[in-house]
Amino acid sequence: MALSKLAANSFDLTDNYALTGTVTGVVSTQKLFLIKNLDASSSSTLSFVDGSDSVDLDNTYKTYYFKFINIHASGSSGDLVFQGNSAGGSGFNETITSSVFQSAHSEDDSTNAEIGYTASADQAQGTGFQIISATVGNGNDECVSGEMWLFNPSSTTFVKHFTVRTNVYHPSDISVERWTAGYFNTTSAIDEIQFKLSAGNMDSGRIALYGIK
C-alpha cells in the first residue's frame, strides 16, 4: 500500500538533499536580492537598465545598493562617474545637486594627510555625470572599490537621494576616500543608471546591483 502521508516528526531531514522540484508555500524572509553583476572587460560603460538583461530598476524594490569591486582602469586614468536616465527619457543627463568630500593619505606618509570639501566634484543642478571617486590609477594593482545607495528611484513624488563612499588607489600612490551624496532633482522615476570612467575604459572589475524590499 502506498503511503499517502508521513506523520509529523517521523521524517529525519538532518542530511543534505537536492530538491529538483519546485517548493512552494515557504515564506522566505529574504529581503536583499542580487539583481545583476556586471563585469567590466575593456568596457566604456556599465549600464543597469530596467527591463533589460534581467535588471529590475523600478518599484520592485524600495532601496537599491551598488557594490564596486576592484574597478581597474585601462589606458588613461579617470574618475568613476555615474548618471541616471528617467523612465521614458533619453540620455543620461538628469539634474543633480550633490556634495562631495574626501580624505587622503599618501603611501610615503609625507603628503595629503587631509580631509576637506571637494568642490571640483560636486554639482549644482548639473546634468553631467556625477564624480564618485578620485582618479583611479591604471597600474596593475590600482583600482577603486566602494558602495552606493539609491533610495526609491521609482518615486514620482520625491527627488531621489543617493549616498556613495569609495576608496581609490590613486596614480600618485595615495589612498583617497571619497564621500558623495545628493539627489536627482526630478519627480520622474529613474529607471536606468550608467557608470563609466571620466577617461579611459574599465579594464576589469565588477559592479553588483542589489535590491532591498
Binding site: 524572509t29 529574504q30 524600495k62 568642490a119 543642478q125 526609491n152
Partner: protein
C-alpha cells in the same frame, strides 16, 4: 497476523522522489541565509507624531539597520530625531555621546561646506539625537538614508550607532549628514523612536532589518 511496528528513523539519500510540487504548511528552517531580515516597516499615514519600533530589537541579531525612504515633514525646516529606550518604549531618554558632521552644497552653487557641528552633537545627554536638520516640506522634499545600531541587547557594553542621511534642506541645499555615537548604558536597548522636532512625519517609510 499482527505486524510489528517499525519506525523509520531516516530515509537514505536519493531514496525519496521530490521531483514534484509540494506545499509545506509547517516551518522550514536551516536554509535561509539571507543577510537581511525585514522585521517591521513604519509607513507614514500622513500624520504621525512619532515612528516607534517597540518589538524585534533583541538578541536575535548583532546588528540592526533602519532604512529611511522619502521621510517627508509637515513643518518646514524640520529636524529628524531619534532616541532609544530600555523599557520597551515607555521612555525614550537614554544617555548618549555623539559626533555630528555634515557636507552641503546648494542648488545655486553659492555655498559648500564640510564641517563639524557642535550644536547638534550630544555629550552625556538624554535628549533626542539630531540626525539631520533643515528638512524642507515642499512636496518633493524628503530625507533618505541609513542608521545602523550594533548589538543593542548587550548588557555589558555601550551600544554604538552610525547614520548617514541625505536631505533636501528647505532652501535648496543637498545636505549629507553623518552622525555616530553610543547609547551610554549597559542596559539592553529594546525600542527606538524617530520623530520630527516639530510637526508630524507626513510621508515615507522606515524599514527595520536584522542583519545576519
Amino acid at each position: 497476523m499482527a505486524t510489528a511496528s517499525t519506525s523509520l528513523s531516516k530515509i537514505k539519500a536519493n531514496s525519496l522522489n521530490l521531483a514534484g510540487t509540494y506545499g509545506f504548511s509547517g516551518t522550514v528552517t536551516g536554509f535561509d541565509d539571507t543577510p537581511l531580515v525585514l522585521l517591521s516597516t513604519f509607513t507614514s499615514d500622513g500624520s504621525d507624531a512619532t515612528a516607534s519600533f517597540t518589538s524585534g530589537i533583541d538578541s536575535t541579531y548583532k546588528e540592526y539597520m533602519f532604512v529611511f525612504n522619502n521621510i517627508h515633514p509637515q513643518t518646514d525646516y524640520a529636524t529628524l530625531l531619534f532616541n532609544g529606550s530600555t523599557d520597551g518604549g515607555s521612555n525614550y531618554n537614554v544617555t548618549k555621546t555623539t559626533t555630528f558632521f555634515q557636507a552641503y552644497h546648494d542648488e545655486g552653487d553659492s555655498a559648500t561646506t564640510l564641517d563639524y557641528t557642535t550644536t547638534t552633537d550630544l555629550a552625556q545627554s538624554t535628549a533626542f539625537q539630531n540626525l539631520g536638520y533643515g528638512l524642507g516640506n515642499d512636496n518633493d522634499e524628503n530625507a533618505s538614508g541609513i542608521l545602523k545600531l550594533y548589538n543593542p541587547s548587550s548588557t555589558t557594553h555601550v551600544k554604538h550607532f552610525v547614520s548617514r542621511i541625505n536631505m533636501n534642506e528647505y532652501s535648496g541645499f543637498s545636505v549629507d549628514y553623518n552622525v555616530a555615537g553610543y547609547l551610554n548604558t549597559t542596559s539592553a536597548i529594546d525600542a527606538i523612536q524617530f520623530k520630527m522636532s516639530s510637526g508630524e512625519i507626513q510621508g515615507g517609510t522606515i524599514d527595520l532589518f536584522g542583519v545576519v
